[in-house]
Symmetry: C2
Subunit: 352 residues, 2 copies
Amino acid sequence: MAEKIKLKDVAKAAGVSQGTASNVFSRPEIVREEVRERVHAVARELGYGGPSVTGRLLRAGKVNAVGVAAIEPLSYFFEDLWARQLMAEISNICDERGAGVALVSARNDERLAWNIGSALVDGFILLCVEGGERLVDITRQRQLPYVALAIGADDQSVPAIGVDNFNGARMAAEHILGLGHRRIAILSTMLRDDHVGPADEALIRQAWYSTSRDRALGYWQALQAAGIDPLSVPIFGTREDEGSTHAAVAQIFAAPEPPTAILAMSDKIAMYAVDFLFQSGRNVPGDVSVIGFDDVPEAAVATPKLTTMAQPMHEIARLAVDAALGDIQVEGRRVLPTTLVVRESTAPPRAK
Amino acid sequence: MAEKIKLKDVAKAAGVSQGTASNVFSRPEIVREEVRERVHAVARELGYGGPSVTGRLLRAGKVNAVGVAAIEPLSYFFEDLWARQLMAEISNICDERGAGVALVSARNDERLAWNIGSALVDGFILLCVEGGERLVDITRQRQLPYVALAIGADDQSVPAIGVDNFNGARMAAEHILGLGHRRIAILSTMLRDDHVGPADEALIRQAWYSTSRDRALGYWQALQAAGIDPLSVPIFGTREDEGSTHAAVAQIFAAPEPPTAILAMSDKIAMYAVDFLFQSGRNVPGDVSVIGFDDVPEAAVATPKLTTMAQPMHEIARLAVDAALGDIQVEGRRVLPTTLVVRESTAPPRAK
DNA sequence: AGCAAAAATTGAACCGATCCAAAATTGATG
DNA sequence: CATCAATTTTGGATCGGTTCAATTTTTGCT
């Protein structure tokens, strides 16, 4: 079988310089039509597959692709609700920009470092759901633009895009309070890696994940303003899975005066909670109102359709892609507002 | 701001040859520890970010990544059920192999050609749900290994991996017939781009999509063997969406003697059908049995849990990745068997 | 110490294009 | 026909590493 044909071969066979041959492919408008056609003809004849991407790349230094990275198995991108929604938005933006998307990930730090180190991209979008710090550290090595999403810690030196968790949570709580609820419980996302179950004030104020902490604080602020002592409302940490959520709800509703509303820090938690309430014969929103957070696509088609705080996913994705491509510079943390989406899972408490 | 540091600079500063410096990073085991450390120290001091991927690449000629391509918007990969499941498997395999995954797509042919032409990958996996022919043509240009999945046409010159649609469908029908059903209807995936609604024999035998045709023929074979005239069982083409499926089921159940079982060529169709049956007050599997095809993840959690023919997704993904990476050679069409997964949506017909 | 074998290091070629300044060609004009 | 400007083409430098044959250094053994 023939050797791999390169530009040089084509140039020689067509009797032009390599420079001209190169122009035929990458800037056809500057070469005389006659020459252009001859070169094309020769190329076709020789079976030349067009300029090698790698060669071009080396010269250009730009790949025109963004890498999305997470400390998770690669399949995380296709399985996790939030990641999926975000990826859909990110890929749409990349489509518009004509940029490619590469998925980069590994649970193992060493492997991840290698993958991040060798990904062919112009910049990274970091999905920092877990181990955000490490992910950022590893990415820094690469010396490419990057931006962190959903990062827990609030280190101002890392470019990050996040939502206003505090005010989002406050608005969620205000919605519930505005409906007239007074007995309320909170279902939290992870506060610390090793914690599940009832949480106290200290644990919350010192939570490892600022997302969870800020949302809790937002809820509290609204409760306080409504004259309810935040410390009197039960707050349970969950792992955002069925088991820990059901356990938490079970414990909450075992109390003598169970709540009439639940503030859930994620739609996933909210949906598991709704699930459990149905199974235990309670009606949502008839007996209990539930409000989620994030507005994942499933929230709109769940039964009942979930009331929740929507993250401006589209804008997050746009900013993230621009930052990763180096088109804009994100310094410190860029905070975006959330909006309340009222659907069917919240209603005034049943009149006594 | 300093210039970009390159390997050469590090080598000079550390007083070693560029070759040695290169080895420090890519084959550390062959350089003396003392030297290795000195070079690393210098590199750190200079702020060297590790060997540039591009440079390495140019030499190596291998990217160690597979591209997955489709004639769809990029977000298709995160939104479509089947694509998602497949991608999850593909990415797991790539994880194992230490290979990266790049998503390549566009609805527009020209853009797609450009994207495929400039994707930094070692090979392609083609998701040929639609316009498979064109996708293959475009990919061929690139002169890299590729393999087509779910391709409709059966051109033996394109390396493809598919499932045994004929026998899978036959087994599905045999399951239904084995339960005692005799009045049956078929809901088909697209037979031709322009067709929806009742189909006749000619249409099926000349279907544009061999997947649909083979499944239909498989059903017929089983029906025939059970002494039922295939031409007497209604078969409706759908677009695999809610509208066309509901319409088809409505029409089917408007007949004086409606069927007691439905053979659906995809889980998506099956789920929409179940949906409609519930809405019209019929019980599944009490009144009507429904069997799907594909075994998407949702089939296992639907209500009722869907009986279906499982595609060996894991193996498909493994073969596809190996082929795209050029590790194995797929010639012509490689056909994999499907397996029956009995869940809750099928049962014997109600005794008369 | 002497010498062969093993290990480490070097230097230059090479991967496949793009880019740019300089040279060659073409065309218009006086 | 000479001159000048505009258009094309050329050759060689460059991007940032890897690799391999050749060379130098180290090690092991007598």
